[in-house]
């Protein structure tokens, strides 16, 4: 179900543990640099946060102790002496094994675990102890994830009717995982309903014919049962009936089960459990393992259906529970590869040109081979590119989980709305965005969204909404987290900043300066240390991570209406759809996302307004024209030749303008090459790209072109035009 998300977490755990290890080793070696201490603290903090999201309670509990002790060190309230360092190192090792247990199953060494916890507790000051969360049984399994969900001691029975639609399979979901998840909660009986299966000859392998009836006896609350199906919501027909109406349903189910001969209708008794469960797990696999199985009623149609093979594959996969095999490669190597392939393609076109110029009668064979060469080169290029660019969807899915966890821990109701999940972002960016985004979202839930009663009092919907958006914005990736909460409490933020000595008492700050104090190191508005939200590392980490990626982060806030965090990241190597145009003999690329419409203009459509202004009339409305060449300083003003083509663009504020260019050539995917370090910021240009002929083309930023347009004064580029042509 959520296997891939959890895999990612474990993958990260590895990294974070390595970082912890490394930091501790450095400390052991005598390096007491605060940065090292902070790095370890953050790593453990991230492990704790992630583990909390997956309900790995033992891990959370231990990481929390570790972190608490380390916080004392960080705040210089405790000296890092040799015994403590040793204890921390051993604790770090124990964290490794806790993660391994959480991932691969198995038993924690309880004696060791308790011993370490006891040792760590000795370092935790009294008042801190009070703040640690309650259900801290030594070594015993605890339940932090379910703080708000009281443990229901009584067993309840749920009748579940589950009929997946075919879309569910196409999104990679597997019934068997759902069943396994249910089975983990209690006793489960499963029976297959194959009544919808058509005849063998008329079967559509893409269609979903099978349905299942499940009976689950569990102590878990209904919400946990529903949570299992959370990821297939909308992709299946699902009904979950609790004990309340059990009487009627039990009978119906009994009838159902009797009808299909799946199991005798004695629900509460365990016997049927073994058989039907086994059926689900084994039947699909069997036809493949045995060349000629005795055709059981269900088995025959299933052999031909793709569903039969899918569960098998998944079953096999679920057996090896470790993380999916991935290869971590130095990004620089990938970059070199990408550049080399780009050159290869350019080289091909030059070779083709040379051959065409050769005075040879029959070059057909060579051309055929050359064509093959070209295709191969393109394949390689696509392959290499795909290594780097990935949609943000998995990241967003993880964030949805974070928000759920955070809201249940804070007893607030929030929903996460995501947009632009298919925005492709460089892999590094995705990896390194996970931590900062987690912090932002947690903060949004913890500090942004108000308590339900406050929301109702403020006339808002009870359910807080957090909107997570990803988009490409003229050569940058823009990730936005917008909540409709209370907004930044500016007086309080200012007061805290003064208390913490971040700003002088008489400081005069603008609203946005106050908002940005949230990013100051050591700033935290949390009144108490909770399991969920940070200790003031949060926004500090966020800012560091974002600037580490070469990006920037902004916060805007309206009291009572909510706050918006905007992360703008450069796209060093992302791919973008662009329209290739020519402007004053230069080839340029305009991001397709900003183009609403293109049109070829004629004189009738152009209207003058005032001395210099020109408007383009489109279907009765008038849109200001902006001459791109003029705005970029590439054309003299007296050059009266009107550009032929107009690109209708819409700015962020929703205002429309027509960009005048000379011609449109093509629409294609381009690789974005940052101009950072090549030259300063250029008004109107977002980045550059390399076209198929090896030439560099500027990627335009319509927003800044429009901003630069009125005073486009630099015509000294005229001379260099002649050089270039």
């Amino acid at each position: 179900m959520s296997g891939s998300i959890q895999d990612t977490f474990f993958e990260e755990c590895e990294e974070l543990l390595e970082a912890t290890d490394e930091g501790l080793s450095a400390i052991e070696g005598g390096d007491h640099d605060p940065e090292v201490v902070n790095a370890v603290f953050r790593a453990v903090h991230s492990i704790k946060g992630g583990a909390g999201a997956f309900g790995l309670d033992e891990l959370v509990a231990f990481a929390h102790r570790f972190e608490t002790v380390f916080d004392e060190v960080r705040a210089n309230r405790m000296e890092l002496d040799e015994p403590l360092i040793q204890l921390l190192l051993r604790s770090c090792d124990h964290l490794y094994s806790l993660v391994a247990v959480a991932r691969d199953g198995g038993e924690t060494d309880q004696a060791h675990h308790n011993m370490l916890i006891e040792a760590l507790d000795k370092y935790i000051p009294e008042e801190e102890e009070d703040l640690t969360f309650e259900p801290m049984g030594l070594g015993g399994p605890m339940d932090i994830g379910a703080i708000d969900i009281p443990q229901v001691a009584t067993e309840e029975k749920y009748q579940i009717r589950f009929h997946p639609l075919k879309d569910m399979y196409s999104t990679g979901n597997e019934p068997i995982f759902l069943f396994q998840a249910l089975k983990d909660m209690g006793e489960l009986t499963v029976s297959l309903d194959d009544t919808e299966l058509p005849g063998f000859d008329s079967i559509d392998t893409e269609e979903s014919y099978l349905a299942w009836d499940l009976v689950l006896t569990t102590t878990e609350p209904r919400s946990s049962v529903e949570a299992v199906f959370e990821f297939v919501e909308g992709l299946c027909e699902l009904s979950i009936e609790g004990d309340g109406d059990a009487e009627a349903d039990a009978q119906a189910l009994a009838a159902l089960e009797a009808a299909f001969g799946a199991a005798p209708a004695a629900e509460p008794s365990p016997p049927p459990v073994a058989e039907p469960t086994a059926m689900v797990e084994e039947t699909p696999a069997a036809p493949f393992e045995e060349p000629a199985p005795a055709p059981a009623p269900e088995a025959v149609p299933e052999t031909s259906g793709k569903k039969a093979s899918a569960p098998k594959a998944e079953t096999a996969k679920s057996e090896q529970r470790g993380p999916k095999p991935t290869l971590r490669v130095d990004l620089e190597r990938v970059d070199r590869l990408i550049n080399a392939v780009g050159e290869l393609i350019i080289n091909h076109s030059m070779l083709a040109q040379q051959i065409a110029n050769l005075d040879v009668a029959d070059v057909r064979d060579v051309e055929t081979e050359l064509e093959g060469f070209k295709n191969l080169a393109r394949d390689i290029q696509e392959g290499v590119m795909s290594i780097r660019a990935q949609p943000v969807k998995p990241l967003f899915q993880r964030m949805a989980r974070i928000v759920r966890e955070a809201s249940s821990a804070t007893e607030k109701t929030c929903k996460l709305v995501t947009e632009g999940e298919n925005t492709e972002v460089d892999k590094t960016v995705i990896e390194r965005l996970a931590d900062p985004l987690t912090h932002i979202l947690r903060n949004a839930v913890d500090h942004g969204i108000e308590k339900p009663e406050d929301r109702i009092a403020a006339g808002k919907s009870k359910i807080g909404e957090i909107r997570l958006t990803a988009s490409h914005r003229s050569g940058s990736v823009c990730i936005e987290v917008k909540d409709d909460g209370a907004g930044v409490n500016r007086p309080r933020v200012k007061q805290i900043a003064i208390e913490k000595g971040l700003i002088p008492e008489n400081a005069e700050l603008t609203d946005s300066e106050i908002d940005n104090l949230l990013f100051a190191p050591g700033f935290s508005t949390a009144k108490e240390v909770s399991n969920l939200s940070g200790r003031g590392v949060g926004m500090d980490v966020v800012k560091n991570a974002v600037t580490g990626l070469g990006g920037r982060i902004n916060i805007t806030s309206t009291p009572g209406k909510g706050s918006t965090f905007t992360i703008i990241l450069p796209l060093t190597l992302a791919v973008m759809d662009g329209m290739v145009v020519s402007v004053a003999d230069q080839t340029m690329v305009v991001p397709i996302t900003s183009i609403v419409e293109t049109m070829r203009g004629n004189d009738d459509m152009i209207n003058n307004l005032g001395a210099d202004g020109t408007l383009l009339s489109i279907r009765g409305s008038f849109v200001p024209i902006c001459d791109v060449a003029g705005a970029l300083g590439l054309r003299k003003e007296d050059n009266d030749q009107p550009p032929g083509v107009y690109l209708l663009v819409e700015t962020e504020t929703g205002q429309r303008s027509a960009l005048a260019v000379d011609d449109i050539h093509d629409q294609r995917q381009v690789v974005i090459k940052s101009l950072d370090g090549v030259c300063g910021e250029i008004a109107g240009v977002a980045a550059a790209t390399i076209l198929g002929d090896g030439k560099i083309a500027m990627i335009l930023d319509p927003e800044s072109i429009l901003a630069a347009a009125p005073s486009a004064a630099a015509f000294d580029t005229e001379r260099r035009m002649s050089n270039a042509s």
Binding site: A340, L634, C679, V685, I690, I696, D716, A724
Partner: protein, 159 residues
Amino acid sequence: MQAEVKQNDQEIKHAQFSEFVSFTVAGQAFCLKITQIREIRRWSPVTILPHAPSDVLGVMNLRGAVIPIYDLSARFGLETTEASERNVVIVVSAAGKPVGLLAESVSEIISINPEEIQETPPVDSRNTMEYIQGIISHDDNMVRIINLDAVISVPEQVL
């Protein structure tokens, strides 16, 4: 034994002499230490950077990397070069990043004993003084040694 001594002599000679590549810019002879140069390419049309200062010609694709090209002549305050296929782009490395310098043509590689390098006599040309590290006399001609750091440091503020 004899040969060995001779080899030692040569090594000493090598240690003392450094090799410079000389080239002409606007009719004047300049040179750069050979170790500063990554490669020399024939001029090919560049892509203009809008709003760039006049001595930044544009950007060029160097095996997948975007590198800026400076007109050395304009940089030195001399007349601007009308770039053509006869001209060369000297690719140097500035803080690990490649930068291209447009020169008229490359002349030769010369070995210079560091002792022969003379300080630049003060002249009333700010640009030149800033960009020239020293001068040497080679075959009765004056060759100016370029202070690479100064040339490629900060591109003038983009408008």
